[in-house]
Amino acid sequence: MLVKLTLNELYKILAKPRSYIGFLAITTIIMLIEFALYVDGKNYIGFIFQALEQTVIIQGEILNGSLVCFIILQTLIIQMPLLVALVTGDLISGEMASGTIRLLATRPVSRGQILWSKILAGGIYVFALLFWLGLLALGGGLLFFGTGDLTVLKTDELVILRESDVIWRFISAFGVAFISLLLVASFSLMLSCFTDNSIGPIIMAMSVIVLFTIIGTMEVPLFDKIKPFLFTTHMVIWRNLFDNPVPKEMVVKSIAVLLGHIGLFLSIAHYKFTKTDIQN
């Protein structure tokens, strides 16, 4: 029954035009970045390395598919949660607003099953979005720019990862990004359980993510104490998978924090949704 419900939810997601905004945005951004780097990538790389190249000869192809994929990932990672919230933020509230939730609740399934089918559908949507991102960023990058060592651009250092050491990191990074986006999906779904306004949870989820990201970016000592408690701090842990060596303890801790948040948000969503008196 859960499978049927989930397929039904997926059909509803597919029927909404806004579900395609994410795919369209990702495709446009990636194509633009890849085109720009293909045309003018040498100058871009030259600008970054000009100080180092004054004293050192850098031999080998820095601009390759791995670097292009990394640049795309770090550019899109801020926008991706917003694209996810756009769809998952009204999975409940949208149906509350239109009144279809009552019809759904009359079927011989528990509310828990209804909620879980929406969570699973949201998860599948997130996976599809990330898969599309990976296909265009990594696949397109390797196709147009070729393979090679990955140069990880950090503010205070460069990390060069050998070609044989790169693919597993990208796969792991996509895995961690999936957990991060699942957190956004569950957060927006939780907010969605508290209102019958379709847009409210989407805006709320986006606002919280933007606010937390700004706090995380600002180098104010007061915020340093807050940062570890913000889920957005742990959402960018995928970057640390490109450190050498990988700070395993830090990555595991952040993944645990992300999973903890997902559990918390889904528990609240479950409690709220199963106890709500549906009146619309």
Partner: protein
Amino acid sequence: MRNLLIVCFMILLLPAIGQSPSGLLQEVNVKFSTVKTYSAGLNLEFDIPGVKVDPIKGDVFYKAPKKFRIKTKGIIFLPKQNPYEAILLLSDSNSYVAVKMADETVSNVKTTVINVLPKKQADFIVGKFWIDPVNKLVLKSEITTQANGTLVTNYAYGAMAKNALPDKMELTFDVAKFKVPKAVAVDINSKTKAGDTKSKGTGNVKFTFTNYVVNKNIDDKVFTE
């Protein structure tokens, strides 16, 4: 009797001529000049400020007098100076003045320290060589150039010492401190490190050579492709 005395005097004088700074440098150069070409396997290790990079294996090719090429399948960092800058400097004995400075011990070997100064305007300002006078090998060199700062090279020899080809070579050179703009790095969780204001650091690259093939023809394409 007079002729015998002259011959004896010459015999006594010869070693002294051989051990003059210029003579010693020439003996080193003669030893290396027997190598017209060589290729070898290479392992490179890097220690460059602001750059974290794993060692890499590759191949190295040399063709006298100045062609030098390292081939690897990945990204490598090398000093701007040719790793054989020190040896190449010695090849033209008319271009420099050699002055013996002192005797020093390098890697438990007693060496003669010789300073080399250019006779005419040249890119190199001063060269300093620590030479093993017994085996006629450069154990350490320090070349200061106008364009690229100072390059210090330490050499360790093994089976190919007869051709003055080192088994290991460690290059130390000046590296400008650099930073990736935060807008480019998009490093959200990074913090600006306090007190990190040095504009220069010292980089280090270690070469380990294996499987030398000496004086076997090498196609010029190797150096251009």
